[in-house]
């Protein structure tokens, strides 16, 4: 490939639309182009890299018996009605009517399609387990696309679905997939990644893990313990709240004029927020007449993901001034009588708490001296945001700290949610028909590329890992117009190409400085410079992009040296 012919303009300026490294550099190198918010065209170098990533994923899926399929992007409503997700998924799913006014959706995940195809094709327990997968375009109408290929609306995803007779068989396969995921990420050049417990969200199911690339550019918060190996997404991390003991006081209803915030009330009553109980108010999404009041210790925050999971509904913030059974701004759990459209949720930080300040359910009044054990009879659950410094919920000794991460893959133990709702049964070995147990497993291909590049770059540009590089070699003659140089360069180009090495040849008439800068920006792992000075010694200069190491090599040894470098680099990635 000749660089002069490559579609893609390289630019020096940092585009003002981009914040994170991978996004900035992929734009500057001319690898991606945004067509609409969160919708990109991949130019040839990015697509070449994506093809290599897809082939690595395909190889690893096939190794564990995966059957590659192709599910449709466009699906009929009926399929999604079967699982109930046509109505349970919100605006992120695109819905439209076809020319015959039939309701259709754009697939954002393919559990329904997978069950649809497996259910009439696998009839007996002895055909299981099976795992089917695809690498296909998906569309998810994200509210806030950002960070280039990290959070987009249209993306290519590898999604796999496994079917099992027993929970044990699913678990065994799940951990096999877990290891395959680690191998895939290593093979494509990912270094600093971890797996964490995660929320299964709209997928349903219980056990699930996310693989996270640890990077300050990540949009997820990962909670880690400084003593044990506990790691979780903050969206699911368990909050352990240290309790304190106290003598129980009597309940008093006190006047707190013009004290609105927890801080104001506590200061006025000479208490700390830890000694208070606050009420956080929500309405149910899509059904704003239903209210949710979440009570939590005054110094903590409600985690909405955990709250939604607890009540199995989506919520939106709402001050609930329209709810006649509540006195907005002064809601407390003591002697509170709510109507049947109001759900009360109690965080476990309140359990056993004594001498608490809380709303008086009367304008400008608060209670003091509330002891939860003595004065209330309620169920507690975990809806609190984990904070740095909290005690580890697993070892109970370490303290938690945060890291930022990009989710690069996820795996779910789904259970029978889809097989039951879509009535997929197989004959078991005892004659009974049973619902197979499912797992599902995703990797976003474009996001994987961007994540690898987020980790593999420096101030001069990208640094492609050998396994996914668009071209292995950036062949850089310093004056290609010079006949002698051209001849030597073409000879090297042909020899490398014949040895199945991917080469991009910078045939442009520009300054050496420009060529060097662009070769570093583009990030091919090996650069070969052909100049009249080096040719005088029968040599060319080979530079490794990652280390900057420079080696002078005889022209007739270039191919074997490049082959060796590729082999060594590939070995490191296995």
């Amino acid at each position: 490939m000749l660089l002069s012919n490559l579609v893609g303009q390289r630019v020096k300026q940092t585009p003002n639309t981009a914040q994170i490294k991978s996004h900035i550099l992929m734009l500057r190198a001319g690898y991606i182009k945004q067509i609409s918010s969160g919708i990109y065209t991949l130019l040839s170098p990015a697509k070449k890299s994506v093809n290599k990533i897809e082939n690595i994923i395909r190889e690893e899926m096939d190794k564990i018996g995966g059957q590659e399929m192709l599910f449709p992007v466009v699906m009929p409503r009926e399929l999604w009605d079967e699982s109930g997700r046509y109505s349970s998924i919100g605006d992120e799913m695109v819905r439209f009517k076809d020319r015959n006014s039939h309701d259709m959706v754009l697939g954002m995940t393919h559990e329904e399609a997978a069950v649809n195809v497996v259910k009439n094709n696998i009839l007996s327990y002895d055909q299981l387990p099976v795992m089917v997968y695809q690498i296909q375009t998906k569309f998810r109408d994200e509210a806030r696309p950002r960070a280039g290929l990290i959070r987009v609306r249209e993306f290519t995803m590898k999604d796999a679905y496994s079917f099992h007779i027993t929970k044990e068989d699913l678990e065994q396969f799940y951990y096999k997939m877990y290891e395959v995921y680690e191998r895939i990420f290593r093979r494509i050049g990912m270094k600093n990644f971890v797996s964490v417990e995660s929320d299964s969200g709209m997928m349903g199911g219980n056990v699930s893990h996310e693989f996270m690339l640890l990077t300050p550019a990540g949009e997820d918060t990962i909670v880690l313990c400084d003593k044990c190996s506990y790691r979780a997404n903050r969206e699911v991390a368990n909050a352990v709240v240290e309790s304190y003991d106290d003598n129980e006081e009597k309940i008093k209803l006190v006047n707190t004029p013009n004290k609105k915030t927890i801080e104001e009330v506590c200061a006025f009553l000479n208490k700390t927020p830890k000694q208070s109980c606050k009420a956080v108010c929500y309405a149910i999404k899509g059904d704003e007449n239903k209210s949710v009041v979440a009570f939590i210790r005054g110094d903590l925050e409600v985690n909405e993901t955990k709250l939604c999971k607890e009540i199995q509904k989506e919520v939106v913030a709402n001050d609930l001034t329209d709810n006649k059974s509540l006195v907005a701004g002064f809601i407390g759990p003591y002697q509170l009588n709510v109507d049947k459209n109001t759900i009360l949720v109690f965080d476990k930080s309140l359990k056993g708490l004594k001498n608490v300040v809380c709303g008086g359910n009367k304008t400008d009044y608060h209670y003091t001296g509330i002891s939860f054990e003595r004065d209330l009879n309620v169920q507690y659950c975990d809806i609190a945001n984990v904070e740095e410094g909290m005690v580890c919920p697993v070892c109970g000794k370490g303290h938690l700290y945060f890291n930022r991460g990009i989710e690069i893959g996820n795996i779910f133990q789904l259970g029978t949610k889809y097989t039951q709702s879509m009535n997929m049964k197989v004959h078991s070995n005892n004659g009974e028909d049973i619902y197979p147990i499912m797992g599902c497993y995703g990797i976003g291909v474009g996001r994987a590329l961007a994540s690898v590049l987020e980790e593999n770059s420096d101030e001069n540009g990208l640094i492609f890992p050998m396994s996914i590089t668009p071209w292995h070699v950036y062949l850089c003659p310093l004056r290609y117009q010079d006949k002698v140089i051209q001849k030597a360069t073409d000879k090297i180009y042909n020899k490398l190409t014949n040895a199945n090495i991917d080469v991009i040849l910078d045939d442009r008439e520009v300054s050496p400085g420009n060529k060097f800068a662009e070769s570093e920006l583009m990030g091919m792992p090996i650069r070969i410079v052909v100049s009249s000075r080096s040719l005088a010694n029968g040599e060319v200069e080979v530079t490794l992009r990652a280390s900057g190491e420079k080696i002078m090599v005889k022209t007739n040894e270039v191919v074997s040296m490049v082959k060796n470098i590729i082999k060594q680099e590939m070995a490191k990635l296995n």
Copy 2:
């Protein structure tokens, strides 16, 4: 791969939803599953075959300098407004609003996306020509999906776009692509295909060719000459009408009570339909106040594709009884005064015609004795359907006959339609900025698979060409449960697999008859039967699916024999 594990039920019955061979057999073999009208899931064997087809296409595109990209499936309206196609394309394009009420479309072709990405990335004439391509999902909301993967709504397509400075350069590249297309079709196993002149339809542009697989199952009609190499899609074939001479009569307006059809009128006036002029009536699609009256010789039919191309609008049949300037049922070209919303079109079959019968523009009246040259001053164009037996428009000697075909690919010389409307300019070598000239080139991947199988099958099932077969070998032990047979079979399986040969192993406990029948239905090119009888001689039986030829082979020679067969078969396809 174990057959017992393969997702996909094979069935004996012909499904009543399918008419053509490829569709019937792909359903019976469990290779595809319909999810909605014209929307399919490809099961693993079909997807494996499709992957091989895609790789062949990719190889051939890369050989001529193609740059693989990935354009989005979902695009914003603005992009399609630039070219004008947001409004000019009808119901076959899916339109929807995203969560921010932004108008979006599903891509059915990607000229706009290609210009969008090339236009800011290629700035100068010396960077041209370039060709970019993708292999991507498209959605076209077909009114009548049919024939399995032949006419679907969702499909994977290779679409390529080339950009040139001169028309000569485009033409040169176009014929290079023409040859590449022939090579791709040969390599994937297509035999009886031809290229024909075609209509460029919604693409715009002038010169275009379709590649057609000749088969009775085809939905297109191809016109061929029995003397020369003229071939065209009937939608564009030129009609040559043999004229006749006569003495000119005088014009008469005659009463023709209750004579409605051309046949009735001609019989009443003692003329033949060849001596008459009929009026065929249409309205403009989407603007039904606009009328189109097409005049044509009474024995011929109007070809709507040609008519639409002529007037550059889509039409729908309409009796035009609402048009006050016309007397519906008695419309004739002589002394006809129409309002400004009525377009008149004259087929060239009328040119020079004498003594013609036509409508009298008055209820129950017709003219006789109309001579077009003498009595009318109009422009003629070719809007007639070609009929078998007509004279060849190229050699003028042969006569035309019809064949049925499936369109398996198309190539277009687009001109500057898109670069002009989307304002893509490059610097030319004389300092001027010019609009590059484009070509575009498509192959439907799923349709290619179905077409190959339409041609490669027999009464027992499919016959995969070696280049695109899901597995090279169907390994068929007759009693896999028998330890000796299992050991011998596994050894062969491992040796073949280690030699990079794709094998499916029929490990099921079913009768030999069932295994043979299913192996023929599934269509792998080589079957190896391992039985206790053959093993007694240290042999296995190798059968070629295409010829039925059977060969007994020593077990230690199986791998080399299979390798040889594959090599020979692949050589035939090059």
